[in-house]
Amino acid sequence: MSSGDIAESGRPRPRKVVITGIAGRLGRIVARRLHHELDWQIIGLDRRPMPGRPKDIEHHEVDLRSKKARDVFRIGEVDALIHLGVMHDPRARPAEIYSWNITGTTKLLEYCQAYRVPKVVLLSSANVYGPRPDNPQFLTEDAPLLAAQRFPQMRDLVEIDHLVSTFLWRAQNVETVILRPVHIVGPVHNAPSNYLRIERPPILLGFDPMVQLVHYQDTADAIVAALAPGRRGIYNIVGPGEVPLSAVLKELGREPVQIPHPVARPILSLAFRLGISSFPVAELDFIRYVCMVDGRRAAAELGFRPRFGLRETIHAIDEPA
């Protein structure tokens, strides 16, 4: 069985982890951490190439739905899967993304059960709860995932989260961990970081919700914490605190453009279609309503504490990739 740490030679066999979406910025950061600092053996699964990777990192440029992806699990005593490969491209065809995300995740979970992978970590997002006017200030892990109700683009992530939650309860022999971090900030490509990089970001006139941010390195810490044996469950991952959106933009020296909310949708969707703005209209409610989470469970059970303060976290956006 793959969980035996001592190989026949008596020397400890390096633990082996499969990382999907490894070619992304966060994927690389997590891979680097596990490889250099914790001596894990890394296998990357991504449809994108991974230029400049260290020679001892194995990388497979494959579709998660393909037979080759299955082979990765079949051949080698994999100790853990870190699923970061949730595709979210506002300009790609929704049907293709949907199939990639949902079928891909279903397949991965199948492989993990078939080839006895003892640990599965999914990087979901606190956004799955959805920004809503009647949200409590801090949502706990058992709050319903309502994001898909208003944002078709969030549907994939919500469904993946549900798929893996079901797997968590069904596959009792697998330690499944779902992490729902708040907005990850850093030299990464995700909606919040892309938004914070805009020089003149749109904001809604008369709205200034409180937001939570987490440093990308702290997110990597949370993933590492989730890999520890014995940890299973669903965890919100929160950063160093809560601030109004306007304070974040001010700290970064941005000059926001105030748009009255009744006309924001048509204006921004036109700008998006024309390629002037990269702000996805579906995400407007994230700059209107509160979608914050309670991170006490992760603190108590995973021992997760953010290392970076509020200012450091906000300025992580300035770090070179």
């Binding site: 006017p133 009647d134 409590p136 200030q137 801090f138 706990t140 601030v243 109004p244 509020l310």
Partner: protein, 281 residues
């Protein structure tokens, strides 16, 4: 005595309040940016406190009785009657707790779920310490030993017709569940005066048509209550009520307990109405 004399006399009687000092004395669990987890900022609060003070001292010339029942610290649930079409009763209670006791107390009122959809109100109320009225928010603040204000009558209370003034509408049970669960004492508050600030009838069919919670009309221009009449507010803070029991009890049991609070407020209202000589002074 002429009206002008009366005004002069009132002005002399109004105490000066040290807004800056009192704001500084508030317990705010702020971060390095000066915001607490609900979005309260001391700086924004100070600005709003000046306006609230003017309304409290000069416009409504409020008097508060039973100030000694406002606990200086520790969790507490303030429960009050809700009236007057416009939520100035919340403001006046907040101002009283900030201005009257020796040590100012920050009151977090639970506001309606639609408030976050209204531009400016959405974030300004949060900057001044007000919270969306979810049970989770209330629980969290009580756990942090803060003071939370609830109006168990909710919209039924604030939008009731003038003919029903000073008759309490049905109390919800949520506040009682929270008080029992969090073992928080309840301080009942009777608000006298708010009912006359906008003597309105509520056009329910029109409200339904517009999809708004209520559509009050008043018999003077501009016929919708935008500005409250300068009535005199009288607040009666009652002795803290400490109830114990299972928060998950049957509704009937909780209802009985909620009635204890309701009756206390109703009798304080009757007392206040008996003591009142005039609506406007």
């Amino acid at each position: 005595m002429g009206l002008l004399d009366r005004l002069h006399q009132l002005r002399r009687a109004v105490p000066e309040d040290d807004i800056a000092g009192r704001t500084e004395a508030l317990v705010v669990r702020g971060n390095e940016f000066g915001f607490d987890e609900f979005g309260l900022s001391r700086e924004s609060f100070r600005g709003a406190a000046h306006v609230a003070r003017w309304l409290y001292r000069h416009y409504f010339r409020a008097s508060a009785f039973g100030i000694e029942h406002i606990p200086a610290s520790g969790r507490v649930l303030f429960v009050a009657n809700h009236s007057g079409q416009l939520p100035f009763d919340g403001l006046v209670i907040g101002a009283a707790c900030f201005l009257e006791p020796p040590k100012p107390r920050l009151v977090r009122s639970m506001v309606e779920y639609f408030v976050p959809t209204v531009p400016f109100a959405s974030y300004l109320l949060a900057r001044w310490g007000q919270i969306i009225g979810t049970p989770e928010n209330c629980r969290r603040l009580l756990a942090a030993d803060e003071a939370v204000l609830v109006f168990p009558e909710g919209a039924r209370g604030i939008s009731k017709n003038f003919s029903k003034r000073y008759q309490l509408a049905e109390f919800g049970k949520g506040f009682m569940r929270l008080a029992l669960e969090m073992r928080a004492p309840i301080v009942p508050i009777a608000v006298i005066g708010a009912e006359e600030q906008a003597p309105a009838i509520n056009l329910k069919p029109l409200a339904r048509l517009l999809g708004s919670p209520s559509f009050p009309v008043v018999p003077y221009p501009p016929f919708v209550p935008l500005v409250p009449l300068p009535v005199k507010y009288r607040l009666y803070f009652g002795e803290p009520i400490k109830l114990t029991g299972d928060p998950d009890d049957d509704d009937e049991v909780l209802d009985e307990k909620a009635k204890i609070v309701k009756h206390r407020i109703q009798s304080m209202i009757q007392l206040g109405l008996r003591e009142r000589e005039h609506v406007f002074w």
